[in-house]
Amino acid sequence: MTRRPVACAVLLLTTIGTGCKHASTSASTLKPTATGVAIVVSSGDKQTAPTGSVLTNPLVVQVNDDQGNSVTGALVEFHGPAGVLFDPAAVLTDSSGQATTAVRLGTIGGLYEVTATTPGKAHPVTLQIAETALGYQQQLGSILQDKYCSRCHNPESSAAQVSNYDNLAVKPHAFNDGQTLNKMSNADLLSIIQHGGPALNRSALMPPYGNTLSPTDVQAIIAYIRVMADPPYRPAGTVYEQK
């Protein structure tokens, strides 16, 4: 009897990359004038956006030579799982060695691993970049947690939303803290959100939301916590026995 892991959505999304469609620019019409040996992210990774929408900030990667200096005119090609569109899908690095593309996410919610590849001197060099697409439920969760929870759970302060994290005697965890939250079952999350910290013998600084948020709302927040988890959330039960 062989055991065969049936990969969860996260993994499949990364492996069916061959299906990607290219936007107008094709690599063949570009004439690279240089090659680099390394490729790094400048900005635009780890963004979150609704399914099917364009990420707020473009994805910017930089090609470097073996000295670590940026390379101008090197070819960069972007690939992603089926449904992900890049505009442009292939581009030459600009005078600061950077290649910029707008990323439209696919129609399935989850973690997307996209790649940026440059031909390199001896062999192609590839960089993996992670972005997250939110389906309806996860997006609803995102909006709700932003209103009700993030002031305590997100330690980052902004002008529009000043964090209350530092004022709490017991520190909550950020919702993308997969290390901690992946270990909690859905039932535990439901329980602490609906009945407050004391329901799990934790601090009363975590208020109960069972009378304020509907069960659907709480499920949506849990779906959001799951999709944001870093490292990714892999629920038990994705391993099936082959018949």
């Binding site: 999304l13 099917g52 929408s53 309806y136 709700l144 305590c152 209350n164 600084l205 208020p207 018949k243």
Partner: protein, 685 residues
């Protein structure tokens, strides 16, 4: 010839020579004919998908239960009253199977979680496409029917908008799109009648141009018309891409049609304004919370401030100092309906603010067009352009009537037949593409196109397209029981002297009362049940902020004692909550034991200090209002009712309803009522 005849007759004899043989042959033909239909099914696309589904589930752990729920043959959802005949589930077999969430090969994936059961409304109501079709191409691309291909996922919220006229939490894109239709003034020119029968109103408040010459110069108007966004990046006025001559003629007409504002400007302040220290003006600008509504670009190029009023980054390049000073003194003289409050600044303050704002100018922004005096020909041509371009659809202009139905009605744009649209060569022939391209670059559809290019980002355009797509035929014919009404402003206005005062102070530019007004600041409909009269009076005198983390704040108006009393008396009487019975109010003063019990509950059982500060020395909670003086601010009956059910008093508040018992609520009310301001306690002693 003969041989052919012989051949036929021999074949005939071979087949039908005797009865037995003839019977057998006819039976075979009949059987074959009968087999055509099942065979067609067997070789059909959907049958292949169903087989594919069966083989996909066969090596899954839950294959047995999946197979039990599998239904062979054509599957159909039929809802005549909303016009749904959907056979999508024939191929999309796994839509309702929770365990297939990890499948990424279509058409077998589970449908993501949505708020409705999948069978209730079918698929095409949101996704569009051809429901009754049974081939992939016809269902999704519908080349044959020529209408309604599958909707790209990014517009999917338009489906929700067909029934939900209200703003749902889960449809941010649709909500924004609807907001933009009003905010960018689209509905000034286009009629949009929402399915619940109301006509959408614009919220962009385009200024009246009746007295424009008081406010600014012809040169500025010219420069603005050439490129509004060069003056203020946030301007919603579209760039009409006018030629120099047209812009010049338009400015000539606008200045010549302007009539001087009645009432004269107090000329004595102007010299004072020139001498006013801009830094003093800057702090007054800050203290008056002008930034709640007006934005200014900072050194880093970011806009800081609200978008209720116009951006002020280069206001010094635009307005005449005398006009600005009169405006700050009392904006209602120039524009009776302005959202801006009449602050009642002292002459000294008016001078300081005028000086400060006039210093907000940009030497790189030149308005030196040197247009000089206009000729009658220029003015006449300018007037013609005003009529042609429909300027009066948004702005009030002397001598030009507001045109009716200047642009096409968009109430049913979301299902406009493709046959009625003119696509540009190379354009994808779908409705969303058409709408988005039209918004993006109306000029590309021909030079005769009067529609201007609205200054929106790509994301805003997608939101606008979503909102327009939701205005479908179906949304108009939806049965009433399925339609959820949107929020519509009531016509409530406060009455009497207090009402006049409140209009002058523009309270409802920020607050909502009895369904009328904005939702920027707390709803005041029940304010009289909530606060104590004395506190309200001192708050109006000097509004200190209750929520330290808020950037939007209540401004301070120089109100006279009598005006404050009028307002306080009116609010205390008129804005009472029916949910609170003043006769059953818990006492304001309580035995120490109960107070102590309340304190314990506050800090341990309910841990209110996580969001609130009751004791400024020890507590740090920063989300809810500071409660250190709540005993002088709120009435005990309100505190009690609030603890019992905050959402009943203020729907949507983030204060969690903790299901607090009567006893606990009474004890915490007793505790909170002891938290008084120092001044108050001294006063009592």
């Amino acid at each position: 010839m003969k041989s052919v005849k012989q051949l036929i007759s021999s074949v005939w004899r071979a087949l039908f020579g005797d009865t037995m043989r003839a019977f057998a042959i006819v039976s075979v033909i009949l059987m074959l004919t009968l087999a055509i239909a099942p065979a067609k099914d067997h070789f059909s696309q959907w049958h292949r998908y169903q087989n594919g589904y069966l083989s996909m589930i066969s090596d899954r752990g839950d294959a047995i239960s999946l197979r039990r729920r599998f239904e062979p043959g054509i599957q159909q959802i039929w809802h005549p009253e909303i016009g749904v005949v959907d056979r999508c589930e024939t191929c999309h077999e796994g839509l309702k199977e929770a365990s297939l969430a990890d499948v990424t090969t279509q058409p077998f994936r589970k449908h993501p979680v949505i708020p409705h059961p999948l069978d209730r409304y079918g698929c095409t109501i949101c996704h569009r496409g051809q429901g009754p079709a049974t081939t992939v191409e016809e269902a999704h691309d519908s080349k044959l029917a020529g209408v309604d291909p599958i909707l790209p996922a990014r517009y999917i919220e338009s489906g929700c908008g067909q029934c939900h006229q209200n703003a749902l939490t889960g449809t941010p894109q649709l909500n924004l799109g609807r907001q933009y239709l009003a905010q960018y003034g689209c509905v000034n020119c286009h009629m949009v009648k929402t399915p619940d029968g109301t006509v959408m109103k614009a919220t962009d408040n385009p200024p009246s141009l009746e007295h424009i010459a008081d406010k600014t110069t012809r040169d500025w108007i010219f420069t603005w018309l050439k490129n509004p966004q060069a003056y203020a990046a946030s301007a919603t006025m579209p760039n009409y891409k006018l030629s120099d001559a047209d812009a010049s003629d338009l400015s000539a007409f606008l200045i010549s049609s302007s009539k001087p504002q009645a009432g004269d400007v107090d000329a004595t302040i102007i010299p004072a304004a020139k001498n006013a220290d801009p830094s003093a003006g800057a702090s007054l600008y800050g203290e008056s919370f002008c930034a709640t509504c007006h934005a200014v670009q900072n050194a880093a190029g970011n806009l800081v401030g609200g978008d209720v009023g116009p951006e002020l980054t280069r206001v010094g390049n635009k307005v005449k100092p005398a006009w600005l000073q009169a405006w700050i003194e009392n904006p209602r003289v120039y524009d009776e309906h302005t959202l801006m409050p009449h602050y009642r600044f002292t002459p000294q303050q008016v001078a300081m603010l005028t000086g400060y704002l006039m210093s907000k100018s940009d030497s790189d922004y030149s308005t030196d067009a040197h247009l000089g005096t206009a000729t009658p020909a220029q003015i006449a041509h300018g007037r013609k352009l005003v009529v042609e371009l429909g300027c009066a659809a948004c702005h009030t202009i002397n001598g030009v009537k507001k045109p009716d139905n200047f642009a096409p009605d968009l109430s049913q744009i979301g299902s406009k037949p493709l046959a009625q649209l003119i696509f540009l060569p190379g354009m994808k022939q779908t409705l969303p593409t058409y709408i988005a391209s039209k918004i993006k670059d109306p000029g590309s559809f021909g030079p005769a196109m009067k529609m201007p290019q609205v200054p929106v980002t790509d994301a805003q355009r997608e939101a606008l397209t979503t909102a327009l797509l939701s205005l479908s035929d179906r949304s108009q014919t939806m049965p009433d029981k399925l339609r959820i009404a949107g929020f519509h402003q009531t016509t409530y206005e406060p009455a009497g002297h207090a009402g006049k005062l409140m209009a002058d102070l523009a309270c409802m530019s920020c607050h909502r009362i009895n369904g009328h007004g904005s939702d920027m600041a707390p709803d005041l409909s029940y304010e009289g049940s909530a606060v104590q009269a004395q506190w309200l009076d001192s708050f109006l005198k000097n509004p200190n902020t209750l929520r330290p983390a808020l950037t939007r704040r209540m401004p301070r108006f120089n109100l006279s004692d009598a005006d404050r009393k009028t307002l306080t008396d009116y609010i205390m009487v008129a804005y009472q909550s029916p949910a609170i019975d003043p006769d059953k109010a818990p006492p304001a003063v309580n035995p120490p034991a109960l107070v102590e019990q309340g304190r314990q509950l506050f800090y341990s059982k309910y841990a209110c200090q996580s969001c609130h500060t009751a004791n400024t020395n020890t507590d740090k909670g920063y989300i809810g209002p500071v409660l250190a003086q709540v005993g002088t601010r709120l009435q005990p009956a309100w505190i009690y009712a609030w603890l019992k059910n905050p959402q009943a008093l203020r729907p949507g508040t983030i204060e969690p309803n903790q299901n607090i018992s009567d006893e606990d609520a009474r004890a915490m009310t007793a505790f909170l009522m002891t938290l008084k301001s120092a001044g108050k306690q001294e006063g009592k002693q």
